[in-house]
Symmetry: C2
Subunit: 422 residues, 2 copies
């Protein structure tokens, strides 16, 4: 099937049309420096979704939304009762994000389906393009809520009371969002309400420097390193900065500095494989002449090996506690994803498609986490990476060339045609 | 004069009236836990000022405002051309502030003047009660802008471009404020437009634990320790928390931790006299899965000895620079007040009045800075402290007993009668 049909569809992939759609999307939430700030469940998010839906309807795809706001665009198969091949990614961005992270995987799925249809390629299985809700976790932590709920990894009400910076809860914002999209047909929520997909394949920019540095076109992703997110809350006592003797203070900033210094020691790794980041800090009352009585900071810890992830991650709370001199601390784990390994079905299909198209591919792990990792227990899963300039992402300067993105979409098209005819 | 007149006026001070006014003021900007959040140049600030003005007008005092928004209530003297005795404090609070810091000094001035008038005590010199603009520096840093401009310590347009957390500038907010108070007669700005006051005396809660601990009623303040405020800005590079190797990062949070650790060493003081505080931290983009590309933090450094203040303060910038491993830093000094020593005129008058009233007094320095320190070059200056519970201020639990505050106001009344008849 692949040999006879896919080349027509592959040739129907339009580099210009895909780029134009990406640039149209990039205007929704545009920030200086060609960046995008489009948080999930906001009006900007809804505006982007409506644009996507308008394109999907123009192609005759079926549109539906589930209880988590995950958005599906369905290309019907010749045997509609079969579990579909699922592809897609997410449309939300980091607050200071770029134009490709996430959204390209959705647009690529749409482009692939359009190419198949324009080439007159029928597939046995349906193909569904999904835009997962809140992958980034920038507005509501953690990320990947949509895919976690879809996969039954967490109950759908797990994050209802999570708040954003304005104190709005995820539960209430999701409720409002669903009302605003109540004209869109509602579908069941993933494996809670139906069968698993036949396979899942996600296209994404690499967000790292390897493909570019090694002159490769396609990353054949074999797995995703594990991630653990923690929230540390330190409680002290506020005091007047001019009068309170240092020996009597309970200064939450000072105990935070000690905690991070101790965590740096815990996380030392001469091989430089371990990833440890304190990216978010909130101080209260946060005025220059008051001693802080409360500090909250986040820990993002990742490692490709389960043993390291468990051993060092489990030591975080005790390390923080031992660093306290005058304050008290609570450490809460908010996200825990073990390293995921993709079984060979999808990676093999990606590698074969790249080879058939004369593209240079590299088998590699993913440093970033992705919705794909929550699909691993459900069905054969894989990802297609394309290079991004300097490995930069989560920043307005994030960039991939139009032809690099088109190459990735051509591989995706072939892989979808392959899998959907199995 | 003091012996024959002041006792009548002292007896006319009403503990209940003063307390009632303080509680009325505390409702303007009330926050949970009996606290107050009343930032300068806000509607709440203007509401509090209108209430004060209504009381002043009820007493027949003259009301005027200068170009910095400093508000004056004038009790006329029998020789109106003489330089007035000035008393007062400020009406703004910290974001999580209490009911007494600042506002009591203004209400005490009003109460003292009311007591003098009710007792039929005429004074040779006018007495003016002042409410200085932006003493706290909580909304616009640094503090004491009103008194600094009044004293000619800085030109009045010095802080025009200082922004608050919403990006509003001090200059524009002051302009709007003056329009909203344009019905109030405008006066010249301090010594830029007129003669210096004859003397300045400011009543304030101690904001430290000494008076309470030693069972004293009145603190006879002899001077104010020096303060230096700095802003440190660290610039790095944002990166994806899951992909960027730690060895290649320019993580602004990590270099901030190193800078604060190095500053702690610079500021070590076994005598525990030195005050060093990092109270405010802002991180960008401040999301858990992005490496921070920018951190701003404040330094509040105080010491009663000029030599230490200069030597260690001047070493801050180099200490921060030496701590940088991958980022760049800029260190800006935003406030610099040398230790102030009050000449004996006002302290002696305060001590004499306390003694005449049978109150226990203690000569002491002030750990907090106050508007008073900028009056030192202009005229004899002093402060009256009263105890506050546990030494706590800048917090909703800040508290002084009604009788403690009344005792302070009785001393102020006697001191004003004394000074205004010299």
């Amino acid at each position: 099937m692949l040999k006879t049909v896919a080349p027509n569809a592959v040739a129907a992939v339009s580099e210009a049309r895909q780029w134009d759609r990406l640039m149209q999307m990039a205007r929704i939430g545009a920030i200086p420096g060609e960046g995008v700030n489009r948080a999930c469940l906001t009006d900007l998010d809804r505006q982007a979704r409506r644009l996507l839906i308008s394109w999907a309807k123009g192609l005759g795809l079926g549109v539906s939304v589930d209880a988590l706001g995950n958005l599906f665009l369905r290309h019907e198969g010749t045997e509609p009762g079969l579990p579909p091949v699922l592809t897609g990614s997410h449309m939300d961005t980091q607050p200071n994000g770029g134009r490709f992270d996430g959204i390209w995987g959705v647009i690529a799925g749409l482009e692939a389906v359009q190419a198949l249809r324009e080439a007159g390629v029928a597939t046995k299985r349906p193909i569904e393009v999904v835009a997962w809700t809140n992958e980034e976790g920038g507005r509501f932590a953690p990320g990947c809520m949509g895919s976690m709920a879809y996969a039954g990894f967490r109950p759908p009400n797990t994050w209802d009371s999570v708040t954003d910076n304005d104190g709005l809860t995820f539960g209430e914002e999701l409720r409002k969002h669903l009302v605003l999209e109540s004209d869109i047909p509602r579908r069941g929520l993933g494996v809670l309400d139906g069968p698993a997909p036949f396979a899942y394949v996600e296209a994404h920019i690499e967000q790292g420097p390897r493909l570019e540095a090694e002159g490769m076109d396609i990353g054949v992703v074999e797995g995703i390193q594990g991630s653990r997110w923690f929230l540390v809350e330190i409680a002290g006592k506020t005091d007047h900065a001019g009068t309170a003797p240092l020996s009597l203070r309970k200064d939450a900033v000072q105990d935070m500095v000690r905690a991070i210094t101790a965590l740096n020691r815990l996380m030392e790794d001469p091989t430089d494989v371990l990833r440890f980041t304190v990216g978010r800090i909130e101080v209260n009352p946060n005025t220059s002449n008051s001693v802080a009585d409360r500090v909250r900071f986040t820990i993002d810890f990742r490692h490709p090996e389960k043993f390291v992830l468990l051993q060092r991650g489990d030591a975080i709370a005790a390390t923080v506690q031992a660093a306290m001199t005058s304050c008290t601390a609570t450490v809460t784990e908010r996200f825990h994803a073990l390293p995921a390994r993709f079984e060979s079905t999808v990676p093999d299909a990606v590698e074969a498609a790249a080879k058939a198209q004369g593209l240079k591919s590299l088998r590699m792990p993913s440093g970033a986490f992705h919705d794909a990792q929550f699909l691993v227990p459900l069905c054969p899963t894989g990802m297609i990476f394309v290079p991004c300039r300097g490995g930069v992402s989560h920043h307005p300067s994030e960039y991939s060339e139009p032809h690099q993105l088109a190459a990735g979409t051509r591989v995706l098209t072939a892989v979808l045609a392959d899998l959907a005819n199995r």
